[in-house]
Amino acid sequence: MSAFFIEGRDFELFVDAVIGARRVVGPVAKRTKFVYAELESAEELRLDFDVTILPPKKVFFPPSQDLVRFSDGVVGGCIDPVETVLLGVHFYDVKGIDMTDFLFRERNEDWNYLAQREATTIVASSIQSISPRAFWSSVGAEVEPQGHDAFLTKVNGGYLFETRTPKGEALLGYGSFREATDAEVGAAALANAAAMKQCPERLDYPSEAIAEKVRDSFGDVAMWDELAKDCFSCGSCNTVCPTCYCFDVRDAWNLDQASGTRTRYWDACLTREFATVTMAGGGTENFREHHSARFRHRFMRKAAYLNEKLGGPACTGCGRCSQACTADIADPVRVITHIMEVSS
């Protein structure tokens, strides 16, 4: 596909034109942070965001999503995708989306996710500001971001718009784009490379070595207990993670007490009851009773179990978990580095 250029002042017009035609979701400010939200006008768009509180997966896999509706013996599905342009996704979040795409597709295709995913055009964007806990330049560096339709890079005077798919090309019609010059393409490449150098944290170990070492550390209970000592089992690290996709399913009746919904909610394997079952006679059994067992499970999943399926850690280096963890113990860089250096 090819590269186009749009002037800064035309860019806003472009965004407004897309908003006029489709639902557009992009990063906006929320108090002192950023979130993805449906845009009402180009003014709200903040492409200078560092990282959003929740990853863009919420567009396809929302925190709560109805799966089935029922009413008087009639039961039906609720898959109801809306044509959407997801504008302004950093490359590490594109990698996160690649992973959830794979995970919701493998073995049993979950159209409750995939339908909205297919109805969405993703425009990735260059990183203009960097979150203090980011380590995306190093983790899983061999895994290339895939699932985007265009890539937007801020360069002097405007934006370079590189289309990757026909879906991305289809957006060209909404703005005054012209073919980019080699100089503009070069400037964009430089800007993107420069951002990689500024990433503040690094996890510089090969994915395979990480998978092996982390898996081997499973039995080091004392180490995991120590690492998880301050864990609240609050699940924040799970909930903000672009590659976490566990959920709970609950039913509820509507006010009429006859109809209702079966809904899935994001769940978190760090929370206490996640693996608890009720036994005959009323007792319960928790297969990951101690919070350190749950803490360990998260790292096993990210760094070992899924690593083998995904070809790299199930971690994009976004640093959201590091930031979200009030006890500041969830940072994959610190935990994995500790395992790589300390555990034998």
Binding site: K30, R31, T32, K33, V35, I53, L54, K58, P63, S64, K229, D230, C231, F232, S233, C234, G235, S236, T239, V240, R250, A252, W253, L255, D256, Q257, Y265, W266, A268, T271, R272, E273, H291, Q323, A324, T326, A327, D328
Partner: protein, 247 residues
Amino acid sequence: MAKPTLAFFDFASCEGCQIEFTNYGDAATLELLKHVDVVEFREAMTETTGGRIDIALVEGSFTREADRARLQDIRHRARVVIAYGACACTGGINALKNHQDDFAEYVYGEHATMPHLESGTARPISAAIKVDYEVPGCPISKDELLLVLSNLLHGTEHVTPPYPVCVECKRRETVCRYDEGDHCMGQVARAGCGAPCPADGIPCEACRGFVDDANLTALEKVLMERAGFSQKRAVGKSRMFTANLRS
């Protein structure tokens, strides 16, 4: 089938949880009243029934021995007793005084020992009678109360989320209080409220009580290290709505 009967009772409390019951709005209230018959609600109605009731909603703390008989009468008459609101579930804010020994003197001075001022420790309703369900919160979440009632109407139990408030806070993408230099107790507080407080820019005060296995040691550490509290304030912090749950 006759509609189940619903009765409201109150003890030491601010009655705010009853008020929440009036806040459903016209459509929802009228719909709800198609499914239950409100038979006693002292604050809103004169009618009473001395007889059996299906669901008794009890608000407020048990603070005086004198209230025991009234509670036992409610238990006796009701098929299901629901303690609702922090006061009823844990003692709530009333329990703050349980850590003081001079509260009566402070408010009433030399008159503090008058017999009608008898107010021992503020205790949950369950200290006096068996309670079937608890709807925590100060005030209750009126949406959750609806879920509880809806489940009861279908002969089953609403499941209060066992995880802490952070889960709901993150799900709604609230800026964490700690990220704005504030403090919060959402990491140890029981969820189910939908985390309105952090979303409105104030800390979670754990008005719904603690989750099981709450890591209070880590909470104190985080309050000191991240919110800059003195040790004294960090230790005292979790004694606001949860005074009865602390030593």
